[in-house]
């Protein structure tokens, strides 16, 4: 599965850089922004403070000046010279005097108002029509006529004039008032501006009367200040001709209440502001550089650090695709290095796990195959067993009636010949059924004393009847002591199997099949003897054929389960592997030698075991005698007595106990231990089963036979518990019992038989 392609904006680097840049940007910009605002505010405040101070200065300056002027004017006009002129009431002289006054006093113009309100003036000096100015000065003059000197500020024709009026009096009577006018104009404001380093604008009725600033839009620019209305809260920022000022607006104190004249005082902070801006720009520039450098550094570091991660990613991808040989290079001792180490460990473990897994799977598959095969065989066996019974009935009818018919047929007739053939066919069928049954009998080996010679004879007889005519069969028996311990059925099965294999090998060409039975003494390290065999006396059976032989490559595998050279349906390949297993179980060995084109010889080694009763060959009808020490446990006294008697007849040494608990104690303490215990199943206190289990634990070398009168209520027939060698049903058949005793005695864990 391909990993999804990384989108550029979601890469590791970007993920780190973006926040870093963001943070750095924020850290740079935000403080700067706050600082600049603060500083601008500081500048503005400073300017405002300046303005306020200037206002104070302005206002007090006005008052002081007015007072000074009034004083000076008062001094002057109280001179007798002027008084005398005033008494004359002559316009020309007055005009002349006023002109002189102007020269002395430095006012812009002068007016003389008589007590009857006639106004005389020096008209050349007036900036405009005398009447207008006379009217403008009237109030001030009137007040002076009343005896009070005063100053007012009035706007005339868009100009602002200060009128200072002083009474001229002789004694207590007022002759008239002199009004001196000075323009509050450009010079005045300029001087003020110079003094206070502020700008001053004088407004009369909404128009600019005098100003130290000459901006084309001055009125508009001052609008925010004028718009304050009556509140006059304080300094406000104002921009005039692009320059930043703080402005204060006020009313000339000396103006008439009904015609207020305004002044605007502007304090500039443009200069500092410009410096501030410049510094900010510089700082910003520096910060950008710093950010850039920082980001580059971070980017570089990230690349450095994330390289191991990229390596890891690549390696992980490779491992994910199955290449377990790749490892990550450990480049550092930090977390990335740890990760690399851990990852490598994981890969190694994966490799090992996978190998293990593969092995396990292989084993499982092999086991599964074997299991399936053995299940099939078992099913086959069950089937065969089921069929065999009915089949034998049918065969019985064929053979039986055939026999009768044969008896009634005259010799030499075709009838006789035909019936003989029918009988032969029936015999073959009988043998076949027996073979099938024998095969399906996956029995636990019943170990008993076996005479190989008689087994061999049975085998050969069987084969003779079934082998094709082109195969000859012969035997050679070279011994008299042919006893071993084992399962006769199984051994028989093996010998037959070897024979049929041999016959199969000779089926096309025909040939000779020979069974040889001989005694053999195995010495340590002897050649031609399978190394597995312990030294001792053995029975050796050789099965030789003159068939096509076995290829050397196959020889090694010939005992493998399911190995067969036969086509499908002709053989399961089981025979030899089963034979191998069985012979090993018997303590023997099987080997094969072959020459291509000449023939094959299978050799079976079985250890010689002296029979328990070598005098009389065992048979179903014969009692088997023996030696040994037997304990009989049965709460039924007559039964126990009878049993004891029979056993003593067979040659055994017998003791009895009627109580199973006492019996157990006896068994436990008896030295040397009993060879065999024969116990009834149902007894009070300790049952036969419990007793058997106890014996199995305490004295495993003591054999146990259990008797029962019922038809096997515990299902022991099918499943003998460990330790119980045999089950005998009552009424006891003593032949069977003697056989069972013989079998159990000869197959105890530590048998005392000696192998010569």
């Amino acid at each position: 599965m391909k990993p999804t392609l990384r989108r550029p904006w979601s890469s590791f680097q970007v993920k780190i850089l973006v926040p870093v840049v963001g943070v750095m940007g924020v850290l740079a910009v935000v403080p700067m922004w706050f600082a600049s605002r603060h500083m601008a505010a500081q500048l503005s405040a400073g300017a405002a403070a300046n303005a306020t101070t200037a206002v104070g200065i302005f206002q007090s300056q006005q008052v002081i000046r007015a007072n000074n002027l009034l004083l000076r004017y008062g001094d002057l006009t109280s001179e007798p010279r002027f008084r005398a002129v005033a008494q004359q009431h002559d316009a020309a002289t007055l005009a002349f005097s006023l002109k002189e006054l102007l020269g002395d006093l430095g006012a812009d113009f002068a007016l003389y108002t008589e007590a009857d309100y006639r106004v005389f003036t020096n008209s050349e000096a007036l900036p405009g029509p005398a009447a207008r100015y006379g009217a403008a000065a009237a109030d001030s003059a009137a007040e002076a006529l009343r005896g009070t000197k005063n100053s007012t500020t009035v706007a005339v024709d868009r100009r602002i004039y200060e009128f200072h009026s002083v009474p001229v009096s002789i004694g207590n009577s007022v002759l008239g008032a002199v009004t001196l006018g000075r323009e509050l104009g450009r010079d005045a404001v300029a001087e003020f501006a110079r003094l206070t380093r502020s700008q001053l604008v004088l407004l009369a009725d909404g128009n600019i009367a005098a100003s130290t600033l000459d901006s084309p839009d001055l009125l508009a620019e001052l609008a925010p200040l004028r718009a304050q209305g009556a509140q006059r809260a304080g300094a406000l920022p104002v921009t005039v001709k692009g320059e930043h000022y703080v402005g204060v607006i006020g009313t000339l104190a000396s103006s008439r209440p009904d015609h207020p004249l305004e002044y605007v005082l502007l304090s500039s902070f443009e200069g500092p502001l410009t410096s501030l801006r410049r510094s900010q720009r510089t700082l910003l520039g520096m910060q950008i550089v710093v950010i850039f450098v920082g980001v580059s550094g971070v980017a570089f570091a990230i690349r450095r650090v994330s390289r191991p991660l990229r390596d890891l990613r690549d390696t992980a991808e490779a491992v994910g695709h199955g290449d377990f040989s790749r490892r990550v290079r450990v480049q550092s001792y930090d977390e990335c290095g740890e990760l690399a180490v851990v990852f490598n460990q994981m890969t190694t473990n994966l490799l090992a796990s996978r190998a293990e897994l593969e092995e396990t799977v292989a084993t499982l598959q092999a086991t599964q195959t074997q299991l399936v095969q053995s299940e099939k065989l078992r099913a086959l066996g069950t089937l065969a067993g089921g069929i065999a019974h009915d089949f034998n009935n049918i065969l019985g009818a064929i053979l039986g009636f055939g026999e009768l018919a044969l008896r009634d047929s005259p010799a030499g007739t075709r009838n006789e010949r035909s019936l003989k053939q029918i009988m032969t066919a029936g015999q073959r069928a009988k043998l076949l059924v027996r073979q099938i049954l024998s095969f399906s009998r996956q029995s636990e080996p019943r170990l008993e004393t076996v005479r190989l010679a008689s087994i061999l004879e049975e085998t050969v007889n069987l084969l003779r009847a079934t082998l094709p005519p082109n195969v000859q069969i012969g035997t050679r028996v070279d011994l008299s002591e042919d006893a071993t311990t084992g399962d006769p059925t199984q051994l028989h099965q093996i010998l037959v199997n070897l024979g049929t294999n041999a016959a199969y090998a000779m089926r096309k060409t025909g040939g000779m099949l020979t069974y040889t039975l001989a005694s053999y003494q195995v010495e340590a390290g002897a050649p031609d003897v399978p190394p597995r065999l312990e030294p001792g006396r053995y029975l050796r059976v050789e099965v030789t054929d003159t068939g096509h032989g076995i290829e050397p490559a196959m020889l090694g595998r010939i005992f493998d389960p399911f190995f067969t050279t036969k086509p499908v349906g002709e053989g399961t390949g089981l025979g030899l592997s089963v034979a191998h297993g069985i012979i090993h179980q018997h303590g023997g060995e099987i080997s094969v030698a072959s020459t291509l084109g000449k023939g094959t010889t299978f050799t079976v080694w079985l250890p010689y075991r002296a029979p328990v009763d070598s005098a009389t060959p065992p048979g179903p009808e014969r009692l088997i005698r023996g030696v040994g020490r037997i304990l009989v446990v049965d709460d039924d006294e007559p039964i126990a007595d009878m049993l004891t008697q029979h056993l003593r007849d067979l040659g055994y040494e017998v003791s009895t106990r009627e109580d199973s608990v006492v019996a157990l104690e006896t068994i436990r303490t008896m030295e040397p231990p009993f060879d065999l215990v024969i116990t009834d199943l149902s007894m009070p206190r300790l049952s036969g089963l419990e007793l058997s289990a106890a014996i199995f634990h305490l004295r495993p070398e003591t054999g146990v036979i259990v008797c029962t009168g019922s038809t096997d209520p515990h299902g022991l027939e099918t499943d003998l518990p460990p330790g119980i060698g045999a089950l005998i049903l009552k009424p006891i058949d003593f032949v069977e019992l003697s056989r069972a005793i013989n079998r159990v005695l000869s197959t105890r864990p530590s048998t005392t038989q000696s192998i010569p």
Binding site: G381, T382, G385, G386, I387, A388, H389, D390, F391, N392, N393, I394, L395, G396, A397, I398, L399, G400, F401, E403, L404, G426, K430, V433, L437, S440, R441, S443, E444, P620, T711, E717, T718, D719, I728, L729, P731, I732, D733, V735, E736
Partner: protein, 125 residues
């Protein structure tokens, strides 16, 4: 002239035994199952009983058991088609239960006749 009871659920087996035994001069009573067999035996006991082992519900074994208990001196021949039931054959069990002879199927006339000969009470040959 002896009377022999033959118990087998297979008709052909019964027919065959009838032929063989009557040839030898014996009288043959037939029964198809254990219940019928016991009934006929109790009606009129025979000198010998030949019984199959594998009949429905292991009747054969029970018959042998029963007969041997009630008539300890009676000779019983057990015949069987073999086949595997459980871990061991029935024939040895039959032997344990008291069948004096056990003969595997398919049997020959000679086998049957020899066994009958051996088991018949001496006075009746």
């Amino acid at each position: 002239m002896s009377r022999i009871l033959v118990i087998d659920d297979d008709q052909q087996v019964r027919a065959l035994l009838w032929e063989i035994l009557t040839d030898e001069g014996h009288e043959v009573i037939e029964a198809a199952d254990g219940v019928e067999g016991m009934r006929k035996f109790r009606d009129q006991p025979t000198d010998l009983v030949i019984t199959d082992l594998i009949m429905p519900e292991r009747e054969g074994l029970e018959i042998i058991n029963q007969l041997r208990r009630e008539f300890p001196s009676l000779g019983v021949i057990a015949i069987s088609g073999g086949g595997r039931v459980g871990a061991s054959d029935y024939l040895p069990i039959a032997h344990m239960l008291g069948a004096r002879k056990v003969i595997a199927k398919p049997f020959s006339a000679g086998e049957i006749l020899q066994a009958v000969q051996e088991l018949l009470p001496p006075s009746r040959t």
